[in-house]
């Protein structure tokens, strides 16, 4: 084979390799990522449905939002139309917290929070599986993480009596910490000591 033919063959191989890589990337964009987005969108729709359930009478739920200046949780009443099943009620509480305080208290979770799934075991442990967007714009620190965790745990357990403990999962996995500080390896029991008592 002449030198020129060898160079042409080499060039052809390079072009084929680049084309192959491009086609693979394109296929991933067209077929795989939309499927993931569709899955997330379906979950978000499910979340919205749970939050906006229109059946049954409206009831008052007490949500606990952090007050960073005070270093504690403050109660805030919210009118909710409870879903039938307790797992949907857990989802409602989480999404109501993600919606944010109506009284100017600190955020617990970003508004974009997606609840991937909720499971309730017979011993009263609720497994709350959050998407990793929960960590978006999360303020750093021990206090912020601790208040966020107990905001969720206290709000869930004090409004839904069948839930005794809450175990958090992120993207379906057990994780060591929320964002480097709060230990998420075990289920949390409610702790009223983080709630500000009295005026």
């Amino acid at each position: 084979m002449s030198r020129r033919a060898k160079i042409l063959l080499l060039l052809l191989l390079v072009v084929l390799a680049v084309a192959g890589f491009y086609l693979r990337t394109l296929a991933k964009r067209v077929f795989i990522e939309p499927a993931q987005h569709a899955e997330e969108a379906a979950r978000a729709k499910l979340s919205e449905f749970a939050l906006q359930s229109k059946q049954g009478p409206s009831q008052t739920a007490t949500l606990y939002f952090p007050s960073l200046d005070g270093g504690n949780l403050l109660p805030e009443n919210r009118s909710l139309i409870w879903a039938e099943a307790d797992v949907d009620r857990v989802r409602q509480v989480v999404l109501a917290l993600a919606e944010g305080s109506h009284q100017g208290l600190s955020h617990v979770l970003p508004p974009s929070t997606t609840v991937r799934a909720v499971f309730l075991s017979p011993d009263g442990t609720a497994y709350v599986d959050l998407a990793n967007d929960v960590l978006n714009e999360f303020p750093p620190g021990i206090q912020t993480e601790t208040l966020a965790v107990y905001s969720l745990v206290n709000s869930i357990t004090m409004n839904i009596p069948s839930v005794k403990r809450v175990q958090f999962l992120i993207q379906g996995q057990e994780v060591e910490t929320l964002d480097g500080h709060a230990d998420l390896t075990a289920a949390f029991a409610p702790d009223p000591s983080h709630i500000k008592s009295g005026p």
């Binding site: 960073l68 200046d69 005070g70 270093g71 303020p139 750093p140 620190g141 021990i142 206090q143 912020t144 601790t146 965790v149 005794k164 403990r165 060591e176 910490t177 480097g180 500080h181 709060a182 230990d183 998420l184 390896t185 075990a186 289920a187 949390f188 029991a189 702790d191 000591s193």
Partner: protein, 173 residues
């Protein structure tokens, strides 16, 4: 941390083991392992965090297990301590340590010092010694952290740590 180390070395009473030197990524388990292998009597973990609007604010945390020990079934007697529960044998000591630190830090002027708090701090969970985490704020992402990095302030914090340890060693809080 370097200032605390210097202040403690100046007393000629303590041996100090740094679980992290420089800006290197060290896992929580590696830090805990370093402390436990050294047979630490006291463990201090320093953090910068968002503590609200106060310019200088300090909170001292001791460990709080996520699930109340009352709810957990009592483990059978064993000579071995489960790694994940090592701190639970030191909860009272850690609370005393946090209180001693809070009382000393509260004497600093221009600093808001909260009452000691208990929190499920992952960095403390497996430490086999009296252990606390000291969070200094505020350090929100949009906030200037200069107030926390002034040498005079850091020196005051270091001196308070030494005084708190000295008080504890004498049997008081």
């Amino acid at each position: 941390m370097a200032r605390v180390r210097l202040a403690l070395l100046g007393t000629n009473k303590y041996r100090i083991v740094l679980t992290r030197t420089g800006d290197v990524d060290t896992s929580i388990e590696q830090r805990t392992l370093a402390a436990n292998l050294a047979g630490a009597h006291y463990f201090l973990s320093f953090h910068a965090g968002d503590l609200g609007t106060a310019a200088r604010r300090i909170t001292v945390f001791s460990f709080q297990p996520p699930t109340s020990p009352v709810l957990s079934p009592a483990p059978p007697p064993s000579a071995f301590v489960p790694w994940a529960q090592a701190q639970e044998a030191h909860l009272d000591q850690s609370r005393q340590f946090a209180l001693a630190l809070q009382q000393r830090l509260a004497l600093l002027s221009g600093v808001q010092v909260d009452l000691p708090a208990a929190a499920p701090v992952r960095a403390l969970r497996s430490v086999d010694a009296a252990a606390v985490a000291i969070e200094l704020g505020r350090l929100a992402t949009d906030t200037d952290a200069t107030a926390l990095t002034e040498p005079a302030f850091q020196q005051q914090v270091a001196a308070s740590v030494v005084q708190a340890l000295t008080t504890l060693e004498k049997g008081g809080t």
